[in-house]
Symmetry: C2
Subunit: 205 residues, 2 copies
């Protein structure tokens, strides 16, 4: 079943779940899977390439795109805006690529609302304790701040019920294999193969 429209994959999960690492491992092992390229008002950093790392826009351009409903989701981080451009994602999907968005829960629900066929994956640590360990490992925050961030990560896990799948990142290779299995299974869904079934029944290609 080649030459079909790709799948839109939305990945979220709490800080300390290791989303980025699992996704990077998945993309290396699954050739049709691509990151979406975001639009941002942030200035390019040394070495960043337009259309590869980001589409760089002025605030006015961003607001113009936003008013035209051109974003699947968008968010403000400090003074900069970031958005997922609908038309670019659709283009990648039409070319048969699977597109992955790594976004927060709020953005994920926004995407699901605008693109109901999106496959929603929540990446989770295997144990409560892992969250704190990972947050502790990456920062020099005070114990107090660490407690707040751990509690906030656990709050985020409550949102997992809005997702289709939960992938446990106990082992990166295993987590990536689970994401690939999910994509392969979704490609076998009857609802994604209506045309193929019609062709079998009534002929045609």
């Amino acid at each position: 079943m080649q030459n079909k429209r790709g799948l839109l994959i939305v990945v979220s999960g709490p800080s300390g779940a290791g989303k980025g690492t699992v996704l990077a491992h998945t993309i290396v092992n699954y050739p049709t899977l691509r990151y979406s390229v975001s639009v941002t008002t942030r200035k390019p950093r040394e070495g960043e390439v337009e259309g590869v790392n980001y589409y760089f826009k002025t605030l006015e351009e961003f607001e113009e795109l936003l008013s035209r409903g051109e974003f699947l989701e968008h968010q403000k981080v400090y003074d900069n805006y970031y958005g997922t451009p609908l038309s670019k994602v659709k283009q990648q999907l039409d070319e048969g690529f699977d597109v992955v968005l790594e976004i927060d829960v709020k953005g994920a629900l926004e995407v699901k609302n605008k693109y109901p066929d999106a496959v929603m994956i929540f990446i989770s640590p295997a144990k409560r304790e892992t969250i704190e360990e990972r947050l502790r490992g990456r920062s020099t925050e005070s114990e107090e701040q660490l407690k707040i961030r751990t509690a906030s990560a656990i709050e985020e896990i409550k949102q997992a019920v809005f997702y289709d799948y939960i992938v446990v990142n106990e082992d990166v290779a295993r987590g990536a294999a689970d994401i690939i299995a999910i994509i392969e299974a979704e490609k076998c869904k009857v609802k994604n193969n209506k045309k193929f079934i019609d062709n079998l029944i009534y002929g045609g290609n």
Copy 2:
């Protein structure tokens, strides 16, 4: 996420789709997957072992089980009855095995009705022409009979819309890999991990 209840997998598909071959290949490559053992009123053949090939019962015993609602589905083939024993399947699932039933569409819908969590997979040939080729390969029927059987197989494909997944058997290894991906993905479904998620949020094991 070990030590969990297994999945009930229902596999159907038209004659000539190669269900048996794909399933045999899947089971060899997926250690937790088992066939369900059917109850039958047919006499044991040379070498068949009670509880391995079938549970052999008299007609009276079969009817008694049937009247007690002990079958997930049952059917009559020529003069013999065959049934899938609910209690035995549940026992395998409780032990953490995934259980596969290879049954016709009518039986499959009966199972889905009694066990809504069943994962419904339809195995299909890749092309219309394959159905006729495979039916032709296996029988010495007349052209007329072949036409009838081909038409009937195509009628069966119309039932694919009642299934969750369609697996195309163009290549046996690929078909088996798709079934394994489906099982792995289903094990990642949020609805199959409520207890795990609760334990992450509220603690416990």
